[in-house]
Assembly symmetry: none
Homo-oligomer: 232 residues x 2
């Protein structure tokens, strides 16, 4: 299984904005939980233990800042505030209550995405584990470039093997075309060299798959590309 898909809780009363956020986040491969007021948001934060919260300040039942304080009483989960209010007092209040970032509406999708990455980067860097992958017995940390099994065995991957796995992991569960893999791993000029892929996929399977002849994680989509399977 892979931990790549992380959960995000959206606390926002406007259904329209909520839907937009969900679409946006799901495109980025996050799991999404929604809550339409502070009360339910708090409950959802407790029960779902999401990896990040997106909170609107203007909620119908309580002020978003209060919600942040309550969550901070027991969790350090990253919190990003969305708000139409541009006045400084609100920003400062939310940030001092424990929010990690404050984005004013209207905002662009790319900015939100970038700020999400920053917030998650902080969370994972302090928890030591980077982007963790599990393939068979192997626990792979792409950022730390380390791979070990539960029993302590270590596995060595070469730079190209890491890059290839990284690209596949970025689109986990989805097919990545030959062309995309080649340009991202070997550079823009290498789009024709599909033999590289065969050689390296074989290498990776030999190292990672329990039975390399019957791949369970590194799958071939004939005529299209390769795909890293998503499993439990």
């Amino acid at each position: 299984m892979t931990v790549a898909s992380r959960a995000i809780l959206i606390v926002e009363d406007e259904p329209q904005l909520r839907r937009m956020l969900r679409t946006l986040l799901e495109l980025e491969n996050f799991r999404v939980v929604e809550a339409e007021n502070a009360e339910r948001g708090l409950a959802a934060a407790r029960s779902h233990k999401p990896d990040l919260l997106i909170v609107d300040l203007g909620l119908p039942d309580r002020d978003g800042t209060e919600l942040i304080q309550e969550v901070r009483a027991w969790s350090r989960v990253p919190i990003i505030v969305l708000s139409a209010r541009t006045d400084e007092a609100n920003k400062v209040g939310a940030l001092e209550a424990g929010a990690d970032d404050y984005i004013t509406k209207p905002f662009g999708a790319r900015e939100l995405r970038a700020r999400l990455q920053v917030a998650l980067r902080h969370a994972t860097s302090s928890a030591a584990a980077g982007s963790a992958l599990r393939i068979g017995d192997w626990h792979i940390d792409l950022k730390a470039r380390s791979a070990r099994a539960g029993d302590g065995r270590e596995l060595h991957l070469t730079p190209t093997e890491y890059r290839l796995l990284e690209v596949l992991a970025q689109h986990i569960g989805l097919v990545v075309t030959h062309r995309a893999l080649l340009t991202q791993v070997w550079g823009p000029g290498s789009a024709q060299q599909t033999q590289y892929l065969r050689v390296y996929m074989k290498q990776l399977r030999g190292k990672l798959e329990p039975d390399p002849a019957r791949p369970r994680w590194l799958l071939t989509d004939t005529g299209v590309g390769y795909r890293l399977a998503l499993r439990d």
Copy 2:
């Protein structure tokens, strides 16, 4: 909520804004270092090792985003970007390069203060710098620059050997790239001199490893860098 005076580096070309920031930060009990362009900013970041960087994107000599990338090659110090540019591409570029926050001018003093606190909060929560190290029989105190074995034997390391070990220890368990090691140990102009690393790693292994030909602590990641293994 004043913390033991921490240093902040301001990289900003407008003298007026620089003065304003200095005043503001000194009121908050920070020590302030200034640089008026990217080149000097990079040098100051290396020599002063500030606890946080405030960087303007519109610098006279180079783009601020480049500066961020260069600093990120060897350091995780929090970086806050100040910019008059409100367009999304700039924000996203800076954040993806490794900035932790992005504030658009004009901004209020209280907002800056709140965002500073957030950035520093992240840094301290993930800080875990112990200066004691154990490699094989050797107990090494990086701060005191001493190394002893259990039975009292002493080991002498040269200044460069200590610095190299220090950098590796700061990222214990993780690969440190050639570039990062060279810029931190030999200075920013030495990023190409990978032969230094080979020579000094051999020295260190000869002194620290029980069997220098089969390193157990000072490991090579061919084509990437070196890493100090994390054991027991």
